[in-house]
Symmetry: C2
Subunit: 364 residues, 2 copies
């Protein structure tokens, strides 16, 4: 957004709470020289050629291969659930018809053999009617419980509704056509994007509700990307988020794993181990992996808010804040709330980039 | 073939020159406990459900991912040539139209912009008209020269005619739908196949032309799978083959490479480095890789005949031997010539397995 406005001749100030740009997309070289994704892996992928064309002003690209496997009963099994998964899991080569039949049988205990004929009330029922008991228990039950800190039966069906199911052998994790990363990393791309005579970036700058009042006097338009509840001093109470504790480990050999991400649904306190070198394509003799331990987000601790917790309570709270958001969007200095935290909504990288790009172009 | 005949009630004797079964598909655990493919990687894949169904009597399977990258200018670039390759090679994200345009321009120097409008006289022209100069020089020129010991311009266009070119981002190396390996290895599958009361396997048994004469008195049908010229005592001269010297190296860490095969078109005497753990899926703390050095096959040395050299001279020689092969297929004990060596023809695993299966069923 800053770049779109700057390119149109506007002066733009960017206030950044952290000591660096690029938000959670930030990547950096660690002390061992390995390029890491500091706030968790950002597997950039998109179907939007418009977005790619715009970003290509600031990046050269490399094709990335995002492959994920789950450790199940001591064996690595490809994800997402596909013919590959069932083949390795059962030892029988599955084709489309056999998967359909398998799922039809697996659903029988749920009281239906057809996914659409059953209205799941929670994430557990949602998984069960989609995948049946065996896959649910091996892949999703414990993983979801670790990730969210509550059981799937207490989560909205929407949380697991978009888990892919593939009637083919495609082992690429995302569905999107273009799966690429900037050749020299994400931070470098954002740095070039912000490198413009009309853009000033002020890092280490916290903007709370008091500062906003002052900024409104100076600026004609404001985009807020922090947590929506904190903007309003949490007057109605705090929205809850899941956070992650990242446990980094460097090894002095090339690769620990055969692919970028290993999920541990059933063992260990961490949900997954990410070896980002597989995505960045960096050729270096050592490797750094990251074990992700899900934790509760606490506003006054060092935890970061990563995942909005879409429970009934939070969604009701969000509605109340959204009324105030609407009021902020009018007036002499409109404030727009953009992004995962400001909208309390999960976005992939390309989704929020495209949204920001379109919004900026609409308002510029 | 042995199993099909045995299952139909015939007594079968298998004479095996080597000290083990399974031919070049033989895999074994090396001294470090790593399951290796001793005679080069055998990436089993097939489109034939008939073949898979038959083999499934003798194997449980796991989904294998066969990914190949080439080391080009110090960077790993995905193969086969696809939108992924061009994206990483150029730093620009390619789509279908851009690849078509790129190839159209790249072909201009060859005197055409359309592949089909040009009749290549040799492998060099074949690659040039398919891929253009840049890709030919970076990926194929030196690799082919190393592999065959002669320049592409001295090779038949058929040698490079089937190199794939993909207008998508699919990074799986083979095209076939089913890409799987037996969970406990290829040798184990063949062992179960041969485990039958009516099959006798005699290892360390060389069958030359003299022995054949004796065998004809004992058996009603013979399948010969050795080199076609050696069956006839090389009366017209020797057919030539390319061979490989395998340089094995074990490392006491999990993985050396991010995928099963790294091609070195331009550096080193070896053509590729194979890290078979990526295909077998074995989870073990050390890894064994194999550097493949192409060498000339010499009948009386320890080299093995791997690749028929399809030159004009050899093909003419083959025709003369084939006349004699035809004569062997009749008489009271017909001899059938089956396989890469006996037919002097390149087969993938699934192709020769299916051919053998069909032939056996026809003759049984």
């Amino acid at each position: 957004m800053a770049r779109v406005f700057a390119d149109s001749g506007h002066e733009v100030d960017v206030f950044e709470k952290r000591s660096h740009i690029a938000g959670n997309c930030y990547d950096e070289y660690d002390q061992h020289g390995v390029l890491i994704h500091k706030y968790g892996p950002h597997y950039f992928r998109t179907d939007s050629e418009i977005l790619l064309e715009y970003l290509s002003r600031f990046a050269r690209w490399r094709s990335a291969s995002y492959h994920v496997q789950a450790m199940i009963d001591g064996e690595l099994v490809p994800l997402p659930i596909s013919l590959s998964t069932l083949t390795t899991l059962t030892g029988r080569v599955f084709n489309e018809q056999e998967l359909a039949l398998y799922l039809q049988n697996a659903r029988v205990g749920i009281g239906t053999s057809v996914e659409g004929q059953f209205e799941p009330k929670n994430a557990e029922e949602q998984c069960l009617v989609r995948f049946g008991t065996e896959i649910y228990q091996k892949f999703f039950l414990h993983y979801t419980a670790k990730q969210w800190g509550i059981l799937p039966k207490d989560l909205s069906p929407s949380v697991t509704a978009r888990i892919p199911l593939r009637y083919n052998f495609d082992q690429r994790y995302p569905e999107e056509k273009y799966q690429v990363l900037p050749s020299d990393g994400l931070t470098a791309m954002f740095k070039r994007m912000l490198f413009h005579p009309k853009i000033q970036v002020k890092i280490n700058t916290i903007v709370g509700s008091e500062e906003i009042a002052a900024l409104k006097l100076k600026y004609s338009l404001i985009f807020y990307t922090g947590p929506i509840d904190q903007y309003f001093n949490c007057v109605y109470g705090q929205l809850s988020y899941r956070s992650l504790y990242f446990e980094w480990k460097n090894f002095s050999f090339p690769y620990l794993w055969p692919c970028v991400q290993i999920n541990y649904p059933n063992e260990h306190p961490y949900t997954r181990c990410v070896e980002i070198k597989h995505a960045t394509g960096q050729l270096i003799s050592s490797t750094t992996v990251c074990y992700e331990h899900p934790v509760r987000y606490c506003q006054d601790s060092t935890t970061e808010p990563y995942y909005p917790m879409l429970t009934q309570d939070n969604l009701q709270l969000l509605e109340r804040y959204n009324v105030m958001v609407d009021e902020e969007s009018v007036g002499s200095t409109p404030v727009h709330f953009v992004g995962r935290l400001a909208e309390y909504r999960y976005y992939n990288m390309d989704q929020i980039l495209l949204k920001a790009y379109n919004l900026a172009n609409m308002l510029v």
